[in-house]
Structures are given as structure tokens and as C-alpha cells.
Amino acid sequence: MQFALLIFESSEAFAARSGDEKDPYLGAWRAYYKALVEANIYVGGNPLQPPETGTTVRLRDGKRRVQDGPFADTKEQLGGFTILELPSLDAALEWAARCPAAAIGAVEVRPVSPEYRRRVTG
């Protein structure tokens, strides 16, 4: 089964990305990525640019609405995602707990939906 780990981070965590090579958060992420790859469960993923770089589009009553930034205005914002191949939700939660973002932000675990994917892609 594939699971998406949705990484939610605070503005401090986004700011820490510009730190140097010795930044502990960067070091933790490098190590985490290595552990995922070595455990043979890493499928893919990417960090996202900070939320202020986002632009949200909606069509309402035929009118375009464009908004600077992300849709939700909460303390923690989506900062990236990782897709893992794992046997169970239990295993996915275990890997989510090890994610460096779990200790300062939040990690949401969602199963990927292959059924709906099949219906969409045909």
C-alpha cells in the first residue's frame, strides 16, 4: 500500500530552510531521507516552497477568484509530501513519528487511493 505523509510546518521551520549546512533540521531531514531509501520504502516526494509563494485559484459563478497564498490560514502550512510503500497504516504512523517535522509541526498520514486513481485514469 502507498501512503502519503503530508508535512505541515510552522513559519519558523520554513525560515530555517535558509540555514547553513550544519543546520540540525536539515541534518535530521537528510538522515530521515536516507533511512527511508535504505529501508526500501521510499516512492517519491518533494518539499514545497513556503506558503507565501502559493497562489490559490477558484471559479465561482463563472468568475475567477485569485488569492495570494494558500487557501487555509492556519499556523502550520503544507511544506511538502512524501509517498511511502508500506504494508500497513501502523507502519506508516511509525515512520511519520520519526519524521523531523513531527516534533515541531505535524505529519498527516493518508492512504493513497488506487481505486479512484483507476477510475480517473481509466
Binding site: G27, A31, A35, L93, A97, A103
Partner: protein, 414 residues
Amino acid sequence: MSGNAQENSERSTHRTIERVARESYGRLVAYLSSHTRDVGSAEDALSNALVAALETWPQNGVPQNPQAWLLTAARHSFIDLVRHQQVAEASEPTLALLREESKEMTLSLEFPDERLKLLFVCAHPAIDPAMHTPLMLQTVLGLDAARIAHAFLISPATMGQRLVRAKTKIRDGGIQFEIPQERELPQRLDAVLEAIYAAFGIGWDDMAGVDQRGRDLAEEAIWLVRVLLELMPKEAEAHGLLALMLHCEARRAARRSPDGRYVPLSEQDCQKWSRPLLEEAERHLGEASSRGRMGRFQLEAAIQSVHAERARSGKIHWNAVMMFYEQLIRISPTLGTRTGYAAAVAEAKGAEAALAALDSIAPDDVSAYQPYWAVRAHVLQQLRKTPEALDAFDRAIGLTEDPAVRQFLLQRRG
């Protein structure tokens, strides 16, 4: 009564209810469910009784024998629940039995302690081993599913469902409330001890290796093994398990520096270890060894005892640690044991020998086992194999859940 005094008295009544609930929860659930095997209904009945206590005790005062009061209230509720649930004819023997006992109960306030049977039911081979510990925590100690779920890193709803499923299996699967026969006893007792140990969550003392499972439940696990010892005071391994847990618990305050950093066992300030807990641990280890039957938990406790000895002698006898691990591997060759052995070898015989011990473990088994990588990183660093050491550090850091341990390893990695 003034408003304040009334509030105080209500608060004290609530505290009494909490205490009575905690102390008698397991006894009442065990007793109510032992005839019907219906643990779920017994728990529901008891929580109804507790609600009734919360309503009436603050007004009428705490009854003279709170436990007996709860049992009577729970019994009435239990009869109602069973009557609603089951087809009348099927439940008739149960109801007759309950009515019968109800009469006795009014005469005597004593009722048999069936918790030991309940412990054996929770760790029955027909129940999913992953549910042994959660079942014990809920039925014997009354912990709610959400609290158990947090400790086991499972969503509260899922934990709730799994607990219900396990209790249905107990009720419908013909699992008997009984003490296993002598022939089966050692193996069945192992399962009980194993489940209690799983609640404790250990491994934090080995080379920044942390096995996070259930670490919030240390006190509950100690409570459980005390219950077990009350009922089986002669079991060497139960004493061994309590000794092991008390040794680890004694170091709780020393495990972090004042600014929250992780402190490995060999660098801990012995002054911060709890002397009463260590003394109690030693008493139980002595009690266990006087029984003349060595076992896994006694060996693990003995290893902890060698570490505790540093408080007196100022040094760690790594040879002794290594020898205890050698015996332990013979009984229980788990990843944890073999990793702990390698860590002891590193100190007793040197890094080269430790690396050989680590290399003897199959790589597939350790791809997600943090303590192995922490020890490996330490050993490779001692051997000055820098690129391999950095790689092992990364694996250990990437597998770490505890931010303090992650920080510690990042610093060691350099």
C-alpha cells in the same frame, strides 16, 4: 456549609472515587466477567456504577465499603446489560448465577480476586499478541482507548475497534477464565510478562537507542507487575521483571540534562538516580535469584544492576554486562539483545570485536531498527572509519523519534 468548604468536600469525594476506581477497577471487571467471559459488558457496567457513584456519593457521603458499593451497583447494571443483549434463554443461567451471588454478596463484603485469570485471558494465545498489552491496560487498570492508542501510536478509533474485537473474541471464542495448568503455565506466564514489559517500553539506556513503544505507560506497567506479584509471589521471572522496570524507572530524572538534552546511561549523574527504587529493585532481584530459576527478565535486570553498581564503585564492569548478555542471547536472541551485546563487547573487548558481533546480524532485520545503527555508528567512529560511521549515524538519526536523542546523535555525528 460555605461554598468553598462544599467545593473542597466535593473535590475530595471525587478524589476518593478516582482512587477507589483505580484500585478496584481490575478486581471488579475480573470478577464480573469471569462467569460470563463478557469483559465489554463488565466494563460498561462498572462505568455505569462509577457514574452513579459520582452522582450519589457527593450528596450521601462515601459509603463505608466503597468497593462493595461499586460491585453491587455494577452487578445491577450488568444484569440489565446482559438481559438487553442476549436472547433470554441463553442468558438465563448467567442471570440465575448473578442473582444467587447477589444474595451472598449482601452477607459478605468479600469477593474472590479473579485478576490473575483476567491477566491470563488478556495474554491468551488465541488473542492477537499485539493486543495483549492494550487489553491488560484497559481491563485491569481501566485506561481508556485514547490513552492506550497514543502510547502505541495507533489512532484512537482504531485502537477502540481492536479492543472491542478482542473482547468479542474472549466472549465468543471459548477462552476460559482460568489459571493455566502446570504444564502450560511457564509459556502462558511468559506471554503475560511479555505484555507487561511491552507497556514499559525499554531500550532507552543503550547507546541512545530508543524503543519508543509504550513509553508513557511505565508507571502503569509497574502497577501491573505488582498486581501479578500479589497473586503469584513466588514467580522468579515476575520478580525479575519488576526489578528490571524499577532499575530503569530509578534513572528517569537522570536521563535528561536540565536543559532537556539526552544523557546516555554511562554518563548519567548517579546522584540523580532514585535510591529507594534501586534498593527495591535489588530486593526483587535477590528474591528472584533465591528461587534458583534463571530467566530472561532476571538477566536483563542483572545487566541493569551492574550499571547501578557504578553509583558505588564509580565504574561499570563491562565484562559482567557482556557475560549476562551472552546468557541472554541463549534464551532470547532478539535484535535488542544482540545489539545490547555488541554495545557491551565494544566496551569490554574493543570496537573491532563489537563490529564483528554487529556484522553477524542479518542486514534485512535491522533496516528499521534504530538502536543497531546507533551502536554501529559509535563503534565505527571509534575505529575511525569515518564515511561508514557518518552513514550509520544518518541511519540512526533518520530512525529516531525522540527529538532529544536525534539532537544528541547529530552532535556526535559532527
